[in-house]
Amino acid sequence: MKQYKKLVIPYIGWLLLFTLLPMLMIALYAFTDGTGEGGAMMFSFTLSNFTKFFDPVFVKVLFKSFVLGVITTVICLALGYPVAYLISKCKERTQTLLILLITIPTWINMLIRTYAWISILGSNGIINNMLSAVNLPPATLLYTDFAVVLGMVYNFLPFMILPIHTALTKMDPSLNEAAMDLGATPLQTFWKVTFRLSLSGVLTGITMVFLPSISTFMIPKLLGGGQYALIGNFIEQQFIQIGDWSFGSAVSMILAVIVILMMAGVSKIEKYTGQDQEETHSDKKSKILN
């Protein structure tokens, strides 16, 4: 097994060159008070970019982004898990088809899909036209919290379904049968066997929905009518509109640290499943064998 260790090397090189080095270049701005004028900067060390952020206004923006991210993730999980579960019960070929069908809409530009939602939800939009056709009072849908959450869930749902489905496929059905034989109810079997085993997929799904959803801003901007000041928007504003790369960089570093800490907390959950223990067990075994 040792032979495979070396397989990491190409990517480590790649990471250093194309992720770490560019990130360091930008992180440098966070610690300098360069004016950012034309990308020219002065190399004087400062922490003021970080302290500046702890203004109630900005903290509120950050908090709101996290709230929206959590809501989106929870709804995606609640909707995505059953869908992934039901798909995994289909025939293998049907599974591939369904998974592709769910992914394909995301290949259409996000902006175009969001514009389509505007014309569905608008006060002269499709839903309201239908309502007035049957003599119902019009509903305010666009530019509400509902519209924002709807748009976010719509955009990120496939990213929840896909990894959970991966975790659920090729699960040994004899495990379920064994649990049933031992007297577990279907619900217990699901909760103690299936769900536990799919937890790695759930965590991947959470990562892939939660991380981008806190830093996104196009959807809340278009469907929320600009009522949402979110952290992604704020960072974009610093980089492009104001040109203060130092502050923008500092804010994105604060965001990264908070998220990394949060994700570390979440991945602890994995340990309680006993999965990791089982694995470390086999790791040890293979170490002894080697």
């Binding site: 097994m1 569905i120 278009l222």
Partner: protein, 614 residues
Amino acid sequence: MIKNRKFSTSLFVGLCLLFQYLPIIVMVIFSFNSAKSLSNFKGFSFYWYEELFKNNELMSAVFVSVSIAIIATLVSTILGTITAIGLSKSKKIVRQIVLQLNQLPILNPEIVTAISLMLFFAAFKVDKGYMTMLFAHIAFCTPFVITNVLPKVRRLDPNLSDAAMDLGATPFQALTKVILPQIKPAIFTGALLAFTMSFDDFIISYFVTGNGVQNISIAVYNMSKRINPSINALSAIVVFVILGVLALSYIVPAIVKKKTTSKVRKRTARIVIALSCLALVIGIAVRESNKPVLRVFNWGEYVDKSVIKAFEKEYDCKVVYETFDSNESMYTKYTGGNKYDILVPSDYMIERLIKEERIQKLDWSLITNRDSLDTSIMNQPFDPNNEYWAPYFYGNVGIVYDKTKVDEADLGQGFEILRNQKYKGNIYMYDSVRDSFTVALKALGYSMNSDNDAEIQEAYQWLANQKETMAPVYGGDEIIDSMKNSEKAMAIMYSGDAAAIMAENENMDFYLPTEGTNVWFDGFVITNECQEVTLAHEFINYMISDENALLNTLEVGYLTSNKHASAIAKEEDFEGNSAYGIRTDLTGNDEVFTYQDNALKEKYAILWTKIISQ
């Protein structure tokens, strides 16, 4: 009972699919709309499909998007999979570090990754274009593959591959015959996600590309200013093609009955790889011959493309044409190492570029069409002697209003009408710091370029109060389409966009508040680094000629600087359209934006964030 469950299963999955496809269906329907709207269906037509196939730029964007997505998916899937396998055997500390680094591109706002890669390529003096975009895509796609594949690899029984090797398999054989088949679903998912991320990416692609290379998202983004349903047509085709291929691949094997052995699969894999290599070669070979090249950076949807084609032909040159959506993103890209000969910035940005000595003086003797320019708008404070800029389009900022909803008498209130309770919940503001503060400062009778603290605070109070009492919606370019569809009673709007709205919705009219408003100018400037100075002047001269200025203004709907062309346009297409015109009461209360330094910009921006998040 089982049947029942099956039914509810398909119902639930079906509903979920319906949810995912609802906007797609809407989008497809509006691609057949005869009008230029995404919300108001006027009649069935294939017009936008014809437009699409005439649009070379979009077609090459399709090629770039597809080829980059395929290559990036292939490379990142392979790289990600072997890394995941390696990681599962690495020491915990290595794994932790690599995984944390790996999450950076997923977790960072795209703009941060974009700027960091832009700086990176600039630092190494890499010429931006197809290859830089490809590398950037591989860089942000691979983490998705690893995140998906790693959990599956970690759950594999390590004894299996050991057993295979004990039985005489080489490590490579154990990898391909034992490990890979077990993690296939995860690799498939990872590849699918990589493709999705690559295909739909805008921000990162925008900042790492150059030399006119653009993907579908960039094209879409720059067209969306004027809602061009050709994009819908394109997306509809994409959906149909993919669904068609999918249906075929689902039906055909069922007919041929599992004759699709691994041989066939291998062959398809080879074909895919060969095709993507071909794409790569073509992508690199796109570099044109030795014709002189002129690199123009203009606003999206701000020219009649046929004029540029004609110029290329007449002057036997190649125009590398790129677009931006704001003065600031233009500035970021230009100073971030991208090379251009001609830019089309607005007033305050011209002022900044002059101050920073980034543009050169024009040689007016080469611009023979100068006599057709409307001299009344020349000699602006940002360039008093017209040494640097040649005007292109200009206009005002005013209020577009629905005559059926707004009482004409209320218009006398000027910008205060935006705080009139009668119109609560019925107005669009422009989601931009400067344009919103212009409204407030002008309503209060101050200069929109104010740097006076007390005045700025007062304007902040005005806007905060407006947000609280009026519940306005802050929108961007999408409100152009919404106003065409009579969504709300009023909207702050640039005159050219207002003209477009009024041309399609006769209930709309344009109003310039009497207390003064913004007068803006966009013009051509030549950069310091320009290699083809004569050709650049010829280009400017060509664009402002009577004939071409007319073509441009009719296409774009903004008021042209050529007085002959604007006179004709006023008589024909824009007859009676009050937004096709300009009020330059510069001695009175109308003003031109001046350049703000970072400290001032930041002061406004913080207050704006406060207003939005209150």
